[in-house]
């Protein structure tokens, strides 16, 4: 390792440690709500945004509100509750039928960007530490396995793409879809003995997908004044073209995770040839 690289690396690490320390000591002096529920009267609209969107998706939200009334949800005028019908309701703030995705990708999209980064760093670490260590001495796969893996690979790829395209409608999303795609590539790597995975192309695809994620966030920043804000109109709940940005980001995440995990698996087998 060169000396300049060492100095730069230690400088970055030191900065991170100092920043984390500042955050830590700041958190120590915050008023704590440990062991007790936050008083309802003090909560403003911004704090109860999750309550709002949990209520919105439950079909009997208005009935529930009428039953329990102000006792649980006081200041009701600020929480416009409405009945959501699958395939009919339009122009909601967040139009995804799978309510989890509206939290994971929309309200906490920045957190998901962090998750993708964590996965990226862990793949780098795995490649660096144990890449190419796996022994290449193995039994040649039989004819049945070779034919089967060739035949099944396109269907596995199709299923992965289906999972992440329908992420905002059904359980699933970008991460499981990407994992299914990577399992298809793993099948080829194990089932065909002279299959070569194109690591360079997958790295380029992965970087482009990551850039697209950040670009979508920046478009939100410039049009709606906050990073990763939903700038696409949300259509009818339950259709494929709904939920605005959520489906777009899930496609990007699916491609990125699929390329990333496949690269990791391939480099476990073949090792990094450039070093």
């Amino acid at each position: 390792m060169k000396k300049t690289e060492f100095i730069t690396g230690s400088f970055i690490a030191l900065t991170l440690v100092v920043l984390l320390g500042i955050f830590f000591f700041q958190a120590l002096f915050q008023p704590s709500y440990e062991g007790k529920v936050m008083p309802v009267d003090n909560v403003n609209l911004k704090n109860r945004v999750s309550l709002h969107y949990v209520l919105k998706n439950v079909n009997n939200a208005s009935k529930y509100l009428a039953m329990h009334g102000m006792r649980y949800f006081n200041n009701r005028s600020s929480v416009p509750s409405q009945t959501i019908t699958y395939g009919k309701s339009k122009n909601l703030e967040e139009g995804s039928a799978n309510e989890v995705t509206s939290i994971v990708v929309n309200y906490r999209g920045f957190d998901t960007l962090g998750e993708v980064t964590v996965l990226f760093i862990s793949i780098i670490g795995i490649t660096m530490l144990i890449g190419g260590v796996v022994e290449k001495k193995w039994i040649k796969p039989s004819l049945i396995v070779r034919t089967g893996s060739k035949f099944l690979f396109p269907f596995i790829l199709l299923f992965g793409v289906y999972i992440f395209i329908h992420g905002h409608l059904t359980p699933g999303g970008g991460f499981p879809g990407g994992a299914v795609i990577a399992s298809g590539f793993l099948l080829l790597l194990l089932g065909l003995e002279n299959y070569r995975f194109n690591t360079k192309a997958s790295k380029v695809i992965e970087s482009l997908a990551g850039l697209t994620f950040v670009c979508i966030g920046l478009i939100g920043l410039f049009t709606k004044n906050s990073f990763l804000a939903n700038f696409i109109p949300t259509g009818t709940v339950g259709l494929l073209y709904s939920a605005g940005m959520v489906s777009l980001i899930y496609v990007v995440i699916g491609i990125k995770v699929g390329a990333e995990l496949s690269t990791g698996v391939a480099e476990l087998k073949e090792g990094n040839k450039n070093d």
Binding site: I139, P141, S142, I144, V145, G148, F151, L152, F155
Partner: protein, 108 residues
């Protein structure tokens, strides 16, 4: 339609039960693999198709799922048995014929 579905599900449940019984009863890996493959292939296959018959709007989806199981389960159990044979996992004492043994000159 309803009766066909019930019959198919009964067949599937019977095979799954027998497969689970075989896992306990059979002496070595290869026999256990044989019974459990029957359970996953025919048991799951006919149960899923039977559910499709009970609710005909799901029939196409269930046929697709069942076809996928029919394609993957035999291949995976074949590969498991082959790998464990090459690895040298012993057969049970009661087995008398081993045609896949490489010493017998039957290698692929």
């Amino acid at each position: 339609m309803f009766i066909t579905g019930i019959i198919l599900i009964t067949i599937g449940v019977t095979f799954s039960t027998l497969g689970a019984l075989g896992l306990v009863r059979m002496p070595d890996l290869y026999n256990r693999l044989q019974t459990s493959t029957k359970a996953t292939t025919l048991g799951a296959f006919s149960t899923i198709i039977g559910v499709g018959f009970l609710n005909p709007s799901w029939l196409i989806k269930t046929i697709v799922i069942a076809t996928f199981i029919l394609l993957t389960a035999p291949i995976s159990s074949h590969n498991l048995a082959r790998a464990s044979h090459k690895w040298g996992i012993p057969l049970s004492d009661k087995t008398s014929v081993d045609k896949y043994d490489s010493k017998a000159g039957k290698e692929e």
